[in-house]
């Protein structure tokens, strides 16, 4: 590992100035992704600015009924927070489906959002990878690609975003609050991550030195139901093959509102707008669920090892919709 300088940030402005002014500097939260990458030689920062003591460690109710989650709130504390468990169960479930107890105690909201792909070639510096070393090629395209993308990929990169939390946030219409040297901006979480295109090394729209300070959730509708379902190779402590986060409202047997996001399928949490469109106003039937899934998957393209993800997504989405609409009637 390359030697680096370590600083504990006392205030956000100087942290932002330090990282913005030094291309080799990085923020560090819980470290569960960054330390791993430094050991693997994927990232070689010259300076780490530790942001975990900044005053962003609380979950606060907002006047309009929403919630603001500080960027350094640990994943375990967020999942245990009463307001999240009661009003945003999809988020608590997604967090609890990720990593392990001892990792969630370290992992932060900001770090979780910016965790990088688990593509095994990306993590192995002896293999070509456009994301790690632009222009070297994509080893996964013709290689082992069971965990890779079926939606929104490019010939330059077929990696998936591994975060469970981000999928729930996408279905909740969350907003990411970011501070940089130019001031503050608000980014819908669905616009935070990018598709790979011909620049897979750029994973988000953030500029170097921009600091995530919080995530805001709008007030939930009282009559909506939400859930997170994750399909994986073992029952626990494994990344998603496919996951579905959904927030659904039913009135008089018809789906009045649905917000759906899919995980494990793309370079970003995939907001399933075509499926939502197909569900709006439709009766809560098996045929509707299947049509919604088909609409979303019309553009799906399988690689050598991941064709199973297409029917798996169809089945998982239908199961989630069945559960949420049945609960409503019960």
């Amino acid at each position: 590992m390359k030697p680096f300088d370590y600083q504990r940030a006392d205030d956000a402005d100087s942290a932002i100035a330090t990282v913005s002014g030094d291309p080799e500097a990085r923020y560090i939260g819980g470290g569960t992704n960054l330390v791993d990458h430094m050991k693997l030689g994927i990232t070689e920062p010259g300076k780490l600015v530790d942001i975990t003591r900044l005053p962003y460690d609380s979950v606060e109710a907002l006047p309009g009924g929403g919630v603001r989650i500080g960027a350094t709130v640990r994943n375990s504390d967020l999942a245990a927070s009463h307001v999240i468990r009661q009003r945003y169960p999809v988020l608590a479930q997604a967090l609890l489906a990720g990593a392990s107890g001892q990792l969630r105690n370290l992992a932060t909201t900001g770090g979780n959002l910016l965790q990088r792909t688990r593509c095994s070639y990306f993590q192995d510096t002896s293999t070509p990878c456009n994301k790690r070393e632009p222009g070297t090629g994509c080893s996964a395209l013709e290689g082992w690609n069971r965990y890779h993308a079926v939606l929104g990929a490019s010939e330059h990169c077929v990696a998936t975003n591994p975060s469970d939390m981000a999928v729930a946030l996408a279905a909740l219409d969350a907003t990411v609050l970011v501070r940089g040297q130019e001031g503050q901006r608000r980014i819908p979480v669905t616009e935070l991550h990018r598709l790979p295109g011909d620049e897979p090394e750029r994973e988000t729209v953030l500029e170097h030195g921009e600091l995530i300070t919080a995530v805001e959730l709008p007030a939930p509708s009282e009559s909506s139901r939400s859930t997170y379902r994750k399909v994986r190779d073992r029952a626990s402590y494994a990344f998603a093959l496919v996951s579905v986060a959904a927030v659904v409202e039913v009135s008089e047997g018809a789906i009045s509102h649905a917000r759906i996001a899919l995980g494990g399928l793309a370079h970003k949490p995939w907001r399933a707008t075509a499926a939502e469109e197909a569900l709006r106003g439709a009766p809560a039937t098996e045929e509707t669920f299947r049509n919604a899934a088909e609409a979303e998957l019309a553009e799906a393209r399988a690689l050598r090892d991941n064709a199973f993800k297409i029917p798996m997504t169809r089945n998982t989405l239908s199961a989630v919709l069945r559960e949420l609409t049945r609960q409503e009637g019960a």
Binding site: A92, L96, L103
Partner: protein, 167 residues
């Protein structure tokens, strides 16, 4: 680059100078001679390095020592009181909750931290009702302990030990 840090490790105050690249796990094992936390994978994937960090279970291989200046670390070695094993340690002995023992200090620290999480009412992935106090059945124990792998497959007895310690 070196930095001076102070940690309380198993009740003892320790001040030392560490290279910033040193993980908490390596600082404990290589610099302070505290070898009960084990290095399995060194990538957060096995739980052998689990310690209690300011009272909460954490993987010590994925955090730099320098980031934990002023923290309290308790390892499996520091759990015993007055030469008497901690109840979770005693339950592992009584239930044969290990074979080779390599994963055991991590399992024990993880179990101690996990039981506190249950006391605090934290739900898990398998908790039916997120809002009710969780009931620690075997399914809950397995899910909550999934971050600790055991190469010897002593899982059945580990679950029994934790069930007993929880009572």
């Amino acid at each position: 680059m070196d930095a001076e840090i102070t940690l309380r490790v198993d009740g003892q105050r320790r001040t030392l100078s560490v290279d910033t690249r040193t993980t908490l796990l390596d600082a404990l094992r290589e610099r302070m001679g505290v070898t009960s936390p084990k290095k399995g994978c060194d990538h957060g994937q096995c739980g052998a390095c689990t310690v209690l960090l300011d009272g909460r279970r954490a993987t010590s291989c994925l955090t730099f020592a320098v980031a934990n200046d002023d923290s309290e670390v308790v390892t499996a070695e520091g759990l015993a009181e007055d030469e008497r094993p901690h109840p979770v340690q005693q339950a592992f002995l009584d239930n044969d909750g290990f074979q080779c023992g390599y994963c055991t200090p991590g399992q024990i620290c993880s179990a101690v931290g996990m039981l506190d999480e249950v006391k605090a009412g934290w739900p898990s992935h398998v908790t039916e009702d997120l809002d009710e106090p969780p009931e620690l059945d075997d399914e809950e124990i397995r899910e909550r302990m999934s971050g600790n792998l055991c190469r010897c497959g002593a899982y059945a007895n580990i679950v029994s030990a934790i069930r007993e310690a929880a009572e």
